[in-house]
């Protein structure tokens, strides 16, 4: 790809975007577009991988075989999403190793929601219902974004996230009709996860640094506030249906706009968590760095083995047909 930016090239690119065309990795793109997509996709991949930690925290304590299998499969899906997104991001010319280094150095971000602790089994339900529910809203829109590899990744991932959301809601609903202790457990979980979930959509439109360019480039298809409102409108009736209270005394239906109006989000908390001072930022990064460090000798062994195999037996590899020749 020729990186030279000229006003003509830029105009042609903007025209393609305006015409609703899909941009592919080999197409010319402005450096700003490439940087934004790399930032979003790597951040998204990191979020999938860091997000395995709070839920992984309950796999060994899941209360039934069915729940254990469901949670393990969900966390495995997240690893798969991470892998898929790293591959999609690599199409922009940065390796997975470089992206991981950026995560471990603190240069790259991941979704701040995963800096909250999972304190009870009900948190697993709340994360599935609320956090994955919010992700579905966001990703449904990203599936229509202008960059081909990201849009395709989102299409595939969204299907699984929808399944996770239903699974989470079913856990919450089961607890909500359970014993008094279970009802208290699930209400407490929703109380703790509701506001951080609303923060997942990012700062209010007026303060959103990246929004304007992203909207113009059709990377982002709806503003943070619009997405947040969409999510609230979807979720309030679901909460009502199972007798769960959302922890917002100001929540009120506005008949004129058809929206559920919520109280004010504590953006100071959002900024604190983003800065690294959330409840589990330290633990999450420490766990990721430790896994990476402790896995180094394994990755080195695999590389050494592959290298040796290639040099030791090149003839065997080249003379052994691995696939049948394609029919002409």
């Amino acid at each position: 790809m020729d990186a030279v930016e000229s006003p003509e090239r830029r105009a042609a690119f903007e025209a393609r975007i305006a015409a609703g065309e899909v941009i592919e990795p080999k197409d010319w793109m402005p450096e700003g577009y490439r940087r934004q997509l790399l930032r979003m996709m790597s951040q998204h991949a990191h979020s999938e991988v860091v997000g395995m930690l709070p839920e992984g925290n309950w796999i060994t304590r899941a209360p039934t075989l069915r729940r254990k299998i469901g949670l393990l499969a969900k966390v495995q899906d997240e690893a798969g999403h991470g892998l898929y997104l790293y591959c999609a991001a690599e199409s922009l010319g940065v390796s997975r190793d470089e992206m991981l280094d950026a995560l471990h150095d603190g240069a790259a971000r991941y979704a701040s929601i995963f800096n909250y602790p999972t304190l009870s089994w009900a948190d697993i339900g709340a994360i599935g219902w609320l956090v994955d529910g919010a992700a579905v809203v966001n990703q449904t829109l990203l599936a229509k974004c202008s960059f081909g590899p990201y849009a395709r990744a989102m299409l595939r991932i969204c299907r699984e996230e929808n399944f996770h959301r239903r699974q989470g809601y079913e856990i919450v609903a089961t607890l909500a009709r359970g014993t008094a202790a279970q009802r208290a457990m699930v209400q407490d979980a929703v109380n703790r996860w509701w506001w951080p979930t609303l923060m997942m959509f990012g700062p209010p439109d007026a303060e959103s640094a990246n929004s304007e360019a992203l909207m113009r480039w059709r990377v982002k298809r709806q503003s943070n506030d619009a997405q947040r409102q969409w999510f609230i409108n979807l979720t309030v009736p679901q909460a009502n249906a199972i007798g769960i209270e959302l922890p917002d005394p100001e929540l009120e239906f506005d008949a004129e706009s058809g929206n559920w109006k919520s109280g004010a989000v504590d953006w100071d908390e959002f900024r604190r968590v983003l800065r690294g001072d959330g409840p589990c930022n330290h633990e999450r990064m420490a766990a990721r760095r430790r896994a990476h460090e402790e896995g180094r000798w394994v990755r080195q062994a695999a590389q050494a083995f592959e290298a040796r195999r290639r040099t030791r037996a090149p003839r065997e590899i080249s003379t052994t047909p691995r696939r049948e020749p394609a029919h002409v």
Partner: protein
């Protein structure tokens, strides 16, 4: 014993054992415990593998280890259902998994050993897989049709498991000096648990497994170790503890305390 008699015995409620009936009841009990052993191996090993979740050395292995854990726990669930049916006492698969104490668990000691490093987990898995696949292949011919059906499905999964652990054994053994040293250390540590793999009694109603499976295991292991530049440890002595008899290492109690915490803390609750 014919499958017909098995069904008859299994479908009856479990009465207090009368002296004259103890022969048939002991057999039923033996069948129940035999199935439990098979199920517990898988539940405990699957649980151990699931502990890696979020901490694996590479993202591809997050997927692989979780996948194998899922297979094993799924297999355990099916076997618990067969065991519960055989016992005929109205216990559910979940009750068998979450409401028994360590003395009532019948898994072998190999599978309850803590994960250690990645080499330790791989060697533990390879030894299990090398034992498990021929066993499952033999169980495909079981006269107990439900068990044969289970084995047919589990065989496909076990083939993949063995390919995975065997592949990593070669990589680690033939990778770097460090990986070879770690893998040899894991093998030396875990080898003492292998004699127990061949002490499970053969129940004619369940399996036709014979000495051939031990020879098969030895051959698989010998060939892999030689290819991986690893040394076969000396023959291990007869085990001092027997998981199949409920005599476990101290590790199992801690694993169960964690696994069973919700069922124990909230008796009777539905999840």
């Amino acid at each position: 014993m014919s499958a017909g008699l098995l069904e008859t015995v299994a479908s009856q409620p479990a009465p207090a054992p009368a002296p004259e009936a103890s022969g048939a009841l002991e057999t039923q009990r033996a069948r129940f415990e035999w199935l439990l052993g098979l199920a517990d191996d898988r539940l405990i090993l699957g649980h151990r593998l699931s502990e890696w979740c979020g901490h694996a050395p590479i993202l591809e292995e997050e997927l692989a280890l979780a996948n194998i854990a899922l297979d094993l726990i799924g297999q355990a669930q099916m076997l618990f259902e067969l065991a519960a049916e055989t016992e005929g006492a109205g216990r559910s698969a979940d009750a068998l998994a979450f409401l028994r104490d360590s003395r009532d668990f019948r898994n072998m000691l190999l599978v309850e050993q803590p994960n250690g490093d990645f080499a330790f987990t791989i060697v533990r898995q390879f030894l299990f897989d090398a034992w498990d696949l021929p066993q499952l292949e033999a169980l495909c011919a079981s006269r107990y049709k439900d068990l044969a059906g289970f084995a047919a499905k589990a065989c496909k999964e076990a083939r993949y498991h063995l390919r995975h652990s065997h592949g990593w054994l070669l990589r680690l053994g033939g990778g770097t000096q460090e990986s070879n040293r770690r893998t040899q250390a894991a093998l030396d540590e875990l080898w003492r648990f292998t004699p127990e793999l061949f002490l499970t009694p053969v129940l004619p109603s369940m399996s036709s497994t014979s000495d051939a499976s031990e020879a098969h295991f030895q051959e698989t292991v010998r060939a892999a170790l030689s290819e991986a530049d690893l040394t076969l440890p000396d023959a291990a002595p007869f085990p001092a503890l027997r998981g199949r008899a409920g005599l476990h290492s101290e590790h199992l109690g801690h694993l169960l305390a964690e696994m069973q915490v919700l069922q124990r803390s909230y008796p009777g609750a539905k999840w």
